[in-house]
C-alpha cells in the first residue's frame, strides 16, 4: 500500500455497505467483517437479517447476562431476536437462501476476480481446513452478493485479481466489492470504481492491482469521509 493512501476503517466499510441495503430487504450477513454491517442498519428501515442457522429477523449481538447461547448467529455470537423475528429449521433456512428469497448476502472474501468470482472458503494451503459452510449456497441463491475485504493482503499482494488463484466459492457471483481503499461495482465487464479513499486515484490503484478499472460514469465518491 502506498504511504499516502488512507485506508478506511472496518466500521466505516461496514457503514458504507449498510447504506447500499434498501429498506425492507432480507439480508444474510457472513462471518467476520460482514457481522459489523448489522450495527449500521437503521431500525426504521426494518431490514430483515437472516442467519443461516435459522433466524429470520435477527437483532444485534448482546453481551453479559442477556446472552443465551441457544440464540446465536452464524458467527456463534449471542443475539437478540428482532420484533417479528422467528425461527426456521435448516431445510427452510437454505430454502430461503437457494430459492431466491434472499435479497442480498454480504460475505467476507479471500480473493475476488474482476469478473466477480469469489474465493472465500479455502486458503489453498495444504494444512488449512477447507470450510465452505453456507457460502456456496449463498452465492448461487442470493439476488445480490456483496463482498468485503482488505484490498491488499498482509504481504502487499492484491486480492482483487484478474483470475483467482484460490479455490472458488462461486463463479461470477459478486456484484459489489467493498474494501478499505475503494468500492467497486463488479456487475459489468470491467470493475467500476464507485468510491475512493483519500489519496487514492483510479490510475494508481489500477497500476498496483495490475487490472483495468473504470471510473464510475456518475462520478467517484469520497470514501470514508
Amino acid at each position: 500500500m502506498k504511504s499516502d493512501w488512507s485506508p478506511v476503517s472496518r466500521e466505516r466499510i461496514a457503514e458504507r455497505v449498510a447504506r447500499d441495503v434498501p429498506a425492507g430487504s432480507v439480508v444474510n450477513l457472513g462471518i467476520g467483517m460482514p457481522e459489523l454491517v448489522g450495527n449500521h442498519f437503521s431500525p426504521q428501515h426494518e431490514i430483515i437479517v437472516h442467519t443461516e442457522n435459522g433466524i429470520v429477523g435477527s437483532g444485534p449481538t448482546v453481551i453479559g447476562a442477556l446472552q443465551d447461547f441457544d440464540l446465536i448467529n452464524a458467527g456463534r455470537k449471542a443475539v437478540r431476536l428482532a420484533v417479528g423475528g422467528h425461527f426456521v429449521d435448516h431445510v427452510d433456512s437454505f430454502a430461503i437462501v437457494r430459492g431466491g428469497h434472499l435479497d442480498i448476502t454480504i460475505l467476507g472474501a479471500f480473493q475476488v476476480s474482476a469478473s466477480g468470482d469469489l474465493a472465500n472458503w479455502s486458503t489453498g494451503d495444504r494444512d488449512a481446513m477447507p470450510s465452505p459452510g453456507g457460502a456456496m449456497d449463498l452465492v448461487v441463491g442470493a439476488r445480490q452478493v456483496f463482498a468485503m475485504m482488505n484490498l491488499f493482503g498482509k504481504n502487499g499482494e492484491a486480492r482483487l485479481v484478474e483470475r483467482c488463484t484460490l479455490p472458488l466459492s462461486g463463479a461470477r457471483v459478486v456484484t459489489r466489492l467493498y474494501t478499505d481503499l475503494a468500492v467497486f461495482d463488479l456487475s459489468g465487464a470491467v470493475p467500476v470504481v464507485l468510491d475512493l479513499a483519500a489519496g487514492v486515484s483510479v490510475e494508481a490503484l489500477s497500476y498496483r492491482l495490475g487490472i483495468s478499472l473504470q471510473a464510475s460514469a456518475s462520478g467517484i465518491s469520497a470514501y470514508g469521509s
Binding site: G24, G84, V88, I96
Partner: protein, 223 residues
C-alpha cells in the same frame, strides 16, 4: 416499514396475467382460498395453469375458475374427487389439459422449486405409466424417477393469522399445501382470518416465514 397487507383481495390479485401458473392451496375444501379465487374470477385472467391437489369440487374453489373457462391446464394429484363434475366435463370434452402427479411428488416438486433445487428423485411412480418419458435411476438397489421442480408465478393460500411481515399460522389440516406453495411462488398471496400486530405471533409457532410471503389479505370484517 414492511407492510404486506393489501387493501382488498382484488388489489392483491391485480397483476395475475393471462397464461400465469397459479398454485392454489387446499385439500378438498380445507385451506381453499375462496376469497382470492373470487377476486381472480372478477379480475379476469385466463389461460391459467392451476396447480392444486384436486381439480375442484362442486361449484366451489378452483371449479369456479374451470367453469368460467379460465383454465388451460390443471396439475394435480386427485382430480376424481367428490362432485368434481365441472372438471370431468371439461376434461372429457378436451377443453382442459391434465397433468397427473402423485401427491407426495407434487409436494416435493413444489418444495424443490421453492428452495432452488432442479428436481428430486422419488420412488413414487417408478415403473408406472406416470414415469414414462422421465429419467429413471437405481439408487442403492431401488428404482427412482426424476421429477422436475415446479414453481408458480403466483400462489393463492389461506391461513389463520398473519402479521404485517407476512409471517403465518394455519388452522389444523387447512395447513396442507400452504407453506410449500408460499415458498414456490414468485408472488405468494395469502388470505387470513386476522392480522395481528408485529411481535404478537409466537416466534416458535410461526409456520411460514414472512420471507416466503408477498401479500396478505385480511378477511376480518370483510363481507
Amino acid at each position: 416499514m414492511i407492510d404486506k397487507v393489501c387493501a382488498s383481495a382484488f388489489e392483491a390479485v391485480r397483476d395475475v396475467h393471462d397464461g400465469a401458473t397459479v398454485l392454489v392451496g387446499g385439500f378438498s375444501g380445507a385451506g381453499v382460498p375462496e376469497a382470492l379465487i373470487t377476486a381472480l374470477l372478477e379480475q379476469g385472467a385466463a389461460d391459467l395453469t392451476l396447480v392444486h391437489n384436486n381439480a375442484g369440487n362442486a361449484e366451489l374453489g378452483v371449479a369456479r375458475l374451470l367453469a368460467a373457462g379460465r383454465v388451460k391446464k390443471v396439475i394435480c394429484s386427485f382430480p376424481r374427487s367428490w362432485e368434481s363434475h365441472v372438471f370431468e366435463g371439461l376434461y372429457r370434452e378436451g377443453k382442459v389439459e391434465l397433468e397427473c402427479v402423485p401427491q407426495g411428488t407434487l409436494a416435493e416438486r413444489l418444495r424443490a422449486g421453492g428452495s432452488g433445487l432442479g428436481g428430486i428423485y422419488t420412488p413414487a411412480g417408478y415403473g408406472t405409466e406416470l414415469a414414462e418419458g422421465k429419467e429413471e435411476r437405481m439408487i442403492d438397489g431401488r428404482g427412482y424417477v426424476f421429477e422436475k421442480a415446479l414453481k408458480g408465478d403466483f400462489s393463492l393460500v389461506k391461513a389463520r393469522r398473519a402479521d404485517r411481515w407476512g409471517n403465518l399460522q394455519y388452522r389444523m389440516t387447512a395447513r396442507n399445501f400452504g407453506p410449500v406453495m408460499c415458498m414456490a411462488a414468485r408472488t405468494a398471496i395469502v388470505e387470513v382470518d386476522e392480522v395481528l400486530p408485529l411481535g404478537l405471533l409466537d416466534p416458535e409457532g410461526i409456520v411460514t416465514s414472512g420471507v416466503f410471503v408477498q401479500r396478505i389479505v385480511n378477511m376480518k370484517g370483510a363481507s
